[in-house]
Symmetry: C2
Amino acid sequence: MKKKYIMAPGPTEVPPEVLAEGAKPVMHHRTPQFRKILTEVLDNMKYVLGTQRSVHILSASGTGAMEAAMANMTSPGEKIIVASIGAFGDRWEAIAKAYNVNVVKIASEWGYPVKPEELKKVLDENLDAVAVFTTLNETSTGVYNDIEAFGKLTVNHKAALVVDGISGIGAQPFYMDKWAVDMIVVGSQKGLMIPPGLAFVAASEKAWKLVETSKNPKFYFDLKKSEKALTKEKMPDTPWTSAVSLICQLNVALRLIKEEGIENIWDRHRKLARAVREAMTALGLKLFAAENPAVVLCSVVVPEGLDGKALVKKIRDDYGISMAGGQGKMEGKIFRIGTLGYTDRFDAIIGVAATEMALKDMGANIEIGKGVKKAMEVLIEEKY
Amino acid sequence: MKKKYIMAPGPTEVPPEVLAEGAKPVMHHRTPQFRKILTEVLDNMKYVLGTQRSVHILSASGTGAMEAAMANMTSPGEKIIVASIGAFGDRWEAIAKAYNVNVVKIASEWGYPVKPEELKKVLDENLDAVAVFTTLNETSTGVYNDIEAFGKLTVNHKAALVVDGISGIGAQPFYMDKWAVDMIVVGSQKGLMIPPGLAFVAASEKAWKLVETSKNPKFYFDLKKSEKALTKEKMPDTPWTSAVSLICQLNVALRLIKEEGIENIWDRHRKLARAVREAMTALGLKLFAAENPAVVLCSVVVPEGLDGKALVKKIRDDYGISMAGGQGKMEGKIFRIGTLGYTDRFDAIIGVAATEMALKDMGANIEIGKGVKKAMEVLIEEKY
């Protein structure tokens, strides 16, 4: 008997009480009973995002919400700045190209964030840019951007700040209103601890002005249609049939989040990521993130001479844990241990233990137990 | 204690074994384990649709898949024909407008289908139209179109035939390849008996030529990206993180569908719809569908002097059954009893009984039991 675990940067483990909600009969969406649930969900999403603005709920994956952001915030021929630090940052550029939007791209070396001073320089050189599209946490490299610092730059610039928070929200510090973020994009299968299939977008007043004038074709992802539905009667509604079972699961998950407290959750993620990071270093492995290491996963360089894809496959098939390999140009070169969402100290220890055992199987020169010992020491020091 | 029932044209009841699947831990989507499930799902979807073509799976509601059809099949300034018989047919026109596609519209009087000869005339007058967008079953009116006859017209015309089968697929006869349908759009929360959140698109060779030349901006719904993922390795994949828990539920639902047999399912729906229809007539109520009455629901005119919205509310709140009221211009004027998906003879009887009881409560002049008696007689005659 081998248990199965997910330690990927999404989908993540779903708490049992949230899974159980997924087995309840489906409700009809155009009923006061369901709209009451939707009301609670949207209020709690505001709490998670640190915003007073409407939260739009989309039945889509995170990429759908990224497209919604682009389609609603831009018009063909306009100029945007993309501040990319990896594969998901690059996705902003790909979507912009599909929409005939002109991109000024800042691309950090993989493993590094975009420095606020770089962004400042590009903003100063591009006073006509309508928006900056960037990433809170870049899962392909395991690095986060300093969004608070970015917000201090865009708040005095024409450009709105659009943030892909798909993997970071619910795991690391984020205050939409306080940090002057104009649009945030969120996915369901990460820090929110439910299965994939829902995504969220919230827009500031500054962002909403762009939404109102955008000339891109759109229908399903049209935020104006969503806003109309959210505000049409006493209780919020959605323009299309929404994924009601996922919304009911989200309601349960958000209650758990509120109970733990979002700032406590951020701190838990910080501790778990630190434990895994220091464990990897103790084993003599090299971390991939050179600065701003992620709190949702730990990206580790595959030891010289080993096959990174085989390592991830072994951890999955022999040890039952779905971790992530490298993406794009890092395929086979790094592996990524997720500690995102419904994850506690023993998950971090399991992740480290499985990594050690699989590396040993593959003939890596490591001392079994050294990583786990270090992880435990960190957890004790962090009082977790 | 009052049980809850859904007798709406979607979402529909989900079988217990499918609900239970919704409570299982989430799988990672980029694994052979999940892709094996996806393989089975896509094969069984081909069976349901009567096609040998790829079935594309979208994490979206049905409207998202309608937009996918428009975005992939057309280019700005092109001409299409919309053959609409109600609110969902009109949605094709609204999406086309969002994409700057020119629409020649055939609109039947509500309660009637589009006659094949009308479509023939418009096709003859518009030899430059690239596609006909229409609806298999129009839930807003409870009327279906003769798609087989439409296919016989478009097969010899430049125009491709695009069919919204969201509420009809899995409930009424449909053979994509045999009927020469070029694109079919499907939703998950109807005849497929799972919660909302998934949608499907399949394209013929004729349709795929339009997909390849389409100039509309698109990313998340880009079928070329989906085709690439479906065919990239030995097992199908999706371009974005898909709603894995819904796909696992669909796998269970499709096994049930295959076990019953799709043609048997169509016949079951025909029998149930006939039972409800004749029950309503026996009660002295007027059916709204003048021709081609739907097999997924029965649309009934609200008796003179009664408030249709209050009737639907009473059936929901006092009797626990979510039926549907009228949509758009029929709001308050009709009500709709769904017998779609996971529905058997006793559901039809319950639907009729609740309607009788609620009508009586509201002072309608009906003889209690007369509708149920008729429904039972029909079911006996139909040997169900």
